[in-house]
Symmetry: C2
Subunit: 407 residues, 2 copies
Amino acid sequence: MSESKIDRALLGLLRSLIKPAPLRLALGTPPSAVTPISSATPTVWIRDRRTLLALLRHPQMNFGDLYSAGKIQVEGDLVDLMVRASAMPETVVSRFLSRVTAWFQANTLRGSRRNIHHHYDLSNDFYKLWLDPEMLYTCAYFPDENAGISEAQTAKMDLVCRKLWLKPGETVVEAGCGWGAMALHMARNYGVKVRAFNISHEQIAFARDRAAREGMSDRVEFVEDDYRNISGHYDVFVSIGMLEHVGKSNYPEFSRVIQRSIGDAGRGLLHFIGRNRPRLLNAWIRRRIFPGGYPPTLRDVADIFEPHDYAVLDVENLRQHYARTLEYWLSAYERHFDEVVARFDMTFARMWRLYLAGSAAAFHAGGLQLFQVLFAGRKCASQPWTRARLFESAGSSEDDQCARAMS
Amino acid sequence: MSESKIDRALLGLLRSLIKPAPLRLALGTPPSAVTPISSATPTVWIRDRRTLLALLRHPQMNFGDLYSAGKIQVEGDLVDLMVRASAMPETVVSRFLSRVTAWFQANTLRGSRRNIHHHYDLSNDFYKLWLDPEMLYTCAYFPDENAGISEAQTAKMDLVCRKLWLKPGETVVEAGCGWGAMALHMARNYGVKVRAFNISHEQIAFARDRAAREGMSDRVEFVEDDYRNISGHYDVFVSIGMLEHVGKSNYPEFSRVIQRSIGDAGRGLLHFIGRNRPRLLNAWIRRRIFPGGYPPTLRDVADIFEPHDYAVLDVENLRQHYARTLEYWLSAYERHFDEVVARFDMTFARMWRLYLAGSAAAFHAGGLQLFQVLFAGRKCASQPWTRARLFESAGSSEDDQCARAMS
C-alpha cells in the first residue's frame, strides 16, 4: 500500500472506532489557524500518521495529550465536539488502562496531599484569571438562566446555607474549603462560627489572608489539614466539591469523621460531582487534571449515610448549572488564553482548555451530574417543615415584597 | 417460688429485654376502661402470665396480636408508647422469624394479587370512615403545619404534578392508583391523559365509577392489572405508594417496565416509604397488615435507576408529613372506632388502631422515611432550571398576589 492508502485505512479504522459520534476526521493541519469557533459539524485535524497511530492505541488517554501538544487541532466548537464524542464507546483497553492509573493515585494521607497539590496549587493567580472575584471553583446556582456567574456563585452559597437552616451562634465545620469564600459567607451572613479544612497550602494562605483583611479571623478559622484529622464537635458539617477527591474506598472513614463531628443531632450537606452509573473518571482527566478523582453515584454515597443512620432529607441535581458554570469559566479562560500561555506554556494552556470544554460537555450530555445531598442525624431537632424557605426573598416577608413593588 | 414471685421474675425479664425503652409494665388489667389518652409515662398492662410468656417468646410479633385480642392494654397515648418502644432492640429470634414470614409473601403476579387483596379490598366503606373525602391513602404534604388533611392531600397531588412539570396534552401512566384521586387530579388540572393501573378490584371499581360520574372517562383509563403488564408509551411514569409492595427482588423488572413505558426521553416520580438502613418490615405489620411489604433504602432503589441511566433529579424526604398524616387518620379512626367494631369485630378494630399508631410512631422516631424521587432519562428535554416552580402560587404572578393582598 502507498503512504496515503495506509493513512486512509488507519483513518477508516479510527472512524469505525468512534462511531456513532457525529464528527469529521481529517489528516493534516487545518487550512488556517483554528480557535474554538462555531460550525456545523466539528472537524478533528490529526497532524500525521504518528499522531493517528497514537490515537488508535489509546484514544481516551492520548486524545488529550495530542490535543495539548497541538498535534490534534479542532475546527469548530470544542464543547460541541466533546458532547458529540461522548456518544463514543469506551474500549476495553481504555478501561483497563484507566484502572491501572487509578492504583497509583490512592488517596492515602500523603497521596491526597500530592493529588490535591497537583491541581489546586498551580498558583492562585492562574485561577484568578478565569474564576469569579470570590474565587469559587465549584458549580454555581443560577436562580434564573440569565444570571451572571458572580450572582450565581453567591446564590449557590445562600442555597446551601438555607438548605442547612443555619442559625446564628451555631458552629460549622467545612471539609475542603477552597479559597475560603463559603466559610466567610456563612460566618458573615448567617452568624455562625466556622472551622474550615483544606490541604492545599496556596488556598489556605489565600483564605487566611482574606479573613484577616476582612476582620473575620475570630469567626472563621482556616486549618491546613486533611479532613481525616478534623477534630471538635459542631452543629453542621458541610463539604462543597471535595467528595470527588475522597475516593470510594475512604467513604467509611469519611462517614466516621462526619459522625465524630456532628453526632446524631447534627446535619450536613455534601455537594459533589456524581454519576448515574458507576464508572471511573476519564483516564486523561485523572492523569493530567484530577489525580485520584472519582465521581460517585448515589448508591456509592450510601456508604457515608447508612452506617450512622443519617436520613437523607433532600437531594438536588444541578447538572445543568454546572454546564453553565463551566461555559462561563471557559469563556473567561479563552479571554485570558494568551496570559496562560505566557505564564505556563502552550501545551498547558491547551490542556486546560480541553479539560474545561470536556467537563462542560460531560455535564451537558449527562455523563456527569452534580448532586447536593442534605442529611441529618436521627436526633436532629428543628428540621424545617418544607423547602419554602429556599425561595423566600432574603430578610423580607410577602408584605415587604408588595410594598417594594408598589413604591 | 410462689405464683406472684414467678410473675415478678418474668416481668423483670421482660423489662430487661425492652430496655432502654422508657415505659411502664404492669401485670393485670388497668383500673378502669382504657382508651388512648395522654399521660406522663404510658403503661402496658399485661393481663396474665400466659400473655406475659407469649410476649417474652416473640415480642415483635406477639405484642400486636395480644394487643388486638385485648390481652394487652395501654394506659396513656398509644403513639407515644410506640415511639418509646422504638428504642427497643430487635432480638435475634424476631429477626429470624421475620425472614421466615417474608418467604411466604413473595410478590409473584399471584402473590401480589393475594397480598394487595388482603389490605386494600377490606371494603371501600371501611376506608371512607377515616380517610379524606378524596380517599388518598398515602402521605400528604402540609404546606404549613396548620393545614388540614384535605388541603394537604390536594397540596401533595399538586406538588407531584409540579415536580413532574406536566404539560397539557402529555400522557401519563400511573402504577398503583389507589381509588383514583391522583389520576383524576392530573387529568383535570394539568390537561394530561392518564392510564392508571391497580390490582385491587374494589379500588378500580370505585375509581371507574368516579371517573364516569365526573365525565372524565375519556381522559383517564383505569386498568385492573399488575404494573408488570403495563403496555404503551408515555411521557411520564408516576407511582405513589406502590414501591413498598413491589419487593426488592422485583426492582430490575420494575426498572424495565419504566424503561419500556417512557424510554430515554421521559421522566417519572416514585413516592414511597423507605428506610435509612436496610431492614425488614416489622414482622407483625407484615403478617397482619402489609404482606409482602418492604420499605427500601435509597441504595436499594438505585437498582431501578442505574440500569437504564436514569438521572435522579430531586429527592425529598417527607417523614414529618407522614407522621402528621397518620395522626389525622388515627384521630378520625378513633372517632369511628365503634363503627369499625360493629362492621368487623373488636380484635380487627384494635389491630388497625395499633397499626395506625405504630406507623405514626415509626415516622416520628425516624424508623421509617417517606421519599419522593424525581428522575429523568438522558434524552429528556425541557427540564426546569430550578425548583422555584414548586412554590409559585397556582395561576398567579407576584403582582396578582400583591393585588389580592391589597384588596
